[in-house]
């Protein structure tokens, strides 16, 4: 475990270009998932009464899909600033566990670069790069390339959706809504590297659905992450004995 980390560290201190190129190439597969959601956000922002600069500013500064949708709906419903901020905090708490997972591969990174990588962390780029970090195929530049491309795409599609989103045929936009689940389902299949991870995946799926049925939707992901990872550890410990 220690040697694996050191190797990743050494690799990531080396040349910049290979990581950037690999990251940019792999990010192509995320675009199908991000473009429709960005367009949908642009459309929704307009419907909820935001101006075009406000919609763009939110995508530029907040850059968090789900909480942006929730935010504009709450603003339109007359919620207060504090209420919106607290909801956003809880919706995005899952990102804390994602940046924590990424950080073990980013040892020795300068603070400036870490600040940028953290700002642009999303479910999608976390998912793509953590799988590659675990197999030693990614470094900090890989993550940077993925983040910058998704950030640019999210902002461009927010504006495009705001301006022209309603021109999209309904059948196409409905089917595109499946793109994001497809991304995470594929990443899940690839993350199931052994029997313990399969057990973690099945348990986490069941728990997450059960929580939704019990009307726990806020904080769902972070609760499931903590429970699922702990189960993985316990099973690993128990099998190792």
């Amino acid at each position: 475990m220690e040697t694996q980390q050191t190797t990743t560290g050494v690799l990531s201190c080396g040349r910049i270009a290979p990581g950037l190129i690999r990251g940019a190439r792999d990010t192509g597969s995320l675009l199908l998932g991000v473009i429709p959601v960005g367009i949908a956000f642009g459309i929704a922002a307009r419907q909820y009464g935001l101006s075009a600069p406000e919609a763009c500013l939110m995508s530029l500064l907040v850059f968090a899909g789900a909480s942006q949708f929730i935010g504009i709906a709450m603003i339109a419903a007359g919620a207060g600033v504090l209420e919106v901020a607290i909801t956003t905090f809880f919706v995005n708490l899952r990102h804390a566990i994602m940046t924590a997972s990424l950080a073990i591969y980013l040892r020795g990174c300068p603070k400036g670069l870490l600040s940028l990588l953290a700002f642009q962390t999303t479910d999608e780029t976390f998912g793509l790069s953590i799988t590659r970090f675990a197999s030693g195929e990614a470094d900090r530049w890989y993550l940077l390339a993925a983040n910058v491309i998704i950030y640019a795409t999210w902002n461009a599609t927010t504006l495009a959706g705001y301006m022209a989103g309603e021109l999209l045929p309904e059948l196409v936009s409905n089917a595109m809504a499946f793109a994001l689940p497809a991304v995470f389902l594929s990443l899940l299949v690839m993350a199931c590297r052994d029997r313990i991870t399969v057990v973690v995946a099945i348990f986490s799926s069941a728990l997450s659905v059960a929580l939704y049925l019990g009307h726990v939707s806020m904080g769902n992901v972070i609760l499931v992450a903590i429970a699922g990872a702990t189960l993985g550890m316990v099973v690993e410990q128990w099998k190792g004995r």
């Binding site: 475990m1 792999d26 597969s29 995320l30 199908l32 998932g33 935001l50 101006s51 500013l57 939110m58 500064l61 907040v62 909480s67 935010g71 603003i75 919106v84 901020a85 956003t88 995005n92 566990i97 940046t99 924590a100 997972s101 990424l102 950080a103 040892r107 020795g108 990174c109 870490l114 600040s115 953290a118 700002f119 962390t121 953590i130 799988t131 089917a175 595109m176 499946f178 793109a179 497809a182 995470f184 389902l185 594929s186 990443l187 299949v189 973690v200 995946a201 986490s204 799926s205 728990l207 659905v209 049925l213 769902n220 992901v221 499931v224 992450a225 699922g228 990872a229 993985g232 550890m233």
Partner: protein, 106 residues
């Protein structure tokens, strides 16, 4: 406009530190080995939580039925991901089946 800018800044303040603090804190030190191993089980758990409620539920109610096109699309994506281990290919398969499913079932 001014009123909404306050909302946007508040949302940024509720988002960025959450992402930044763990990254700065954890990348700066050597974590105990069990914590590192624990963190490696986070991805499958997170992916599961992001996928299955959307596939199996509609508006908070169970939607496990042959008339749910996303269920068929999910099945196709799963098979494609197992077979190809390739993100782009399996996502494309999923979208095509979702599109076809909505045509037929919708």
């Amino acid at each position: 406009m001014e009123g909404k800018i306050a909302f946007i800044l508040a949302m940024m303040l509720a988002t960025y530190p959450v992402r930044l603090a763990p990254m700065l804190a954890i990348s700066a030190r050597n974590l105990p080995e069990p914590v590192v191993r624990w963190l490696r089980y986070v991805p499958p758990a997170v992916f599961s939580a992001l996928v299955f409620p959307g596939l199996l539920l509609r508006d908070g109610n169970p939607a496990v039925s042959p008339s749910n096109p996303f269920l068929w699309a999910g099945l196709a994506t799963f098979v494609a991901a197992m077979a190809t281990r390739n993100l782009s290919k399996s996502v494309c398969v999923g979208i095509v089946v979702a599109l076809a499913g909505q045509r037929v079932l919708g």
